[in-house]
């Protein structure tokens, strides 16, 4: 028997693996991008801190820029360090 493929449809899903469901800064779900972006995915990545809290990169960068004197995680107040994975 010979099978001829006439058409096919690609179906794929992806999700970020985060400890929480929402970004603690913008409170949007990690399935979505931050409010300043329009498409989730590589353009609006997630980042983790050494404390293991996770945020949209755009959100945490804005937060750190708004804190000239201290660089603390907005969830646990430990000193913020990017956790390079």
């Amino acid at each position: 028997m010979k099978v001829k493929i006439k058409s096919w449809m690609g179906v794929a899903t992806w999700r970020w693996i985060a400890n929480d469901e929402n970004c603690g800064i913008c409170r949007m779900s990690f399935e979505n991008c931050c409010p300043e972006c329009s498409l989730p995915g590589d353009d609006c990545p997630l980042v983790w801190g050494a404390c293991s809290h996770c945020f949209h990169m755009h959100c945490i960068v804005k937060w750190l820029n708004s804190q000239p004197n201290s660089q603390q995680c907005p969830m646990c107040r430990q000193n913020w360090k990017f956790n390079i994975q």
Binding site: I25, P35, P74
Partner: protein, 199 residues
């Protein structure tokens, strides 16, 4: 207003409305205008405090830079508390200043204010007169705070002695709030209050 501020406030609003504290009527939040920049909060005075039985209204202004900067919050309802100005309603609370974090929400702010009513910090005062009464004449502070809760926030405790002294000053042509404020500041000493009003 900035995208982030509006979308955050909208989400928080939904969260607060579903929260347990709303169901128990201990905190409340309302919109003042369509632009989401100004909100009205309400907290119930915590039990076993001189604020018990009172409802306290709060003015909440959301800055363009929210949540990277804290909301500006002030008591609209007049209150006698060491960390809240009895004149302007301005609040001295670390999380509304240097200790703000972007992960905090309107709900955590309202709950922190409720906690502040239950545990004053007289060593870090906003109102020096109230703080000094709190430290040096605690029973008088309790009476004054209860009296203000009754007069402005619908609390249950009436003090005939306070009412009489206020009436005496009103009879001299002094406005009721002014009379109450001066008597409170002068530890309910009618003579001293009169002196400070007419000197």
């Amino acid at each position: 207003m900035a995208n982030m501020a509006v979308s955050r406030i909208k989400r928080e609003f939904k969260e607060v409305i579903k929260s347990e504290e709303i169901v128990q009527c201990s905190i409340k939040i309302e919109l003042v205008n369509d632009s989401w920049t100004e909100l009205r909060g309400e907290i119930a005075g915590p039990p076993d405090t001189p604020y018990e039985g009172g409802k306290f209204l709060l003015e909440i202004k959301v800055p363009e830079t929210y949540p990277f900067n804290p909301p500006k919050v002030r008591f609209i309802t007049k209150i006698w508390h060491p960390n809240i100005s009895s004149v302007t309603g301005a609040i001295c609370l670390d999380i509304l200043k240097d200790n703000w974090a972007a992960a905090m929400t309107l709900r955590t702010v309202l709950l922190s204010l409720q906690a502040l009513l239950a545990a004053a910090e007289p060593d870090d005062p906003q109102d020096a007169v109230v703080a000094s009464q709190y430290k040096h004449n605690y029973s008088l502070f309790l009476m004054t705070a209860r009296h203000w809760t009754n007069a402005y926030a619908g609390g249950p405790s009436r003090f005939a002695d306070c009412d009489q002294k206020i009436q005496r000053l009103k009879d001299m042509g002094i406005d009721e709030h002014k009379a109450r404020a001066v008597l409170s500041m002068e530890n309910w000493d009618l003579e001293k209050a009169t002196e400070s009003l007419f000197s």
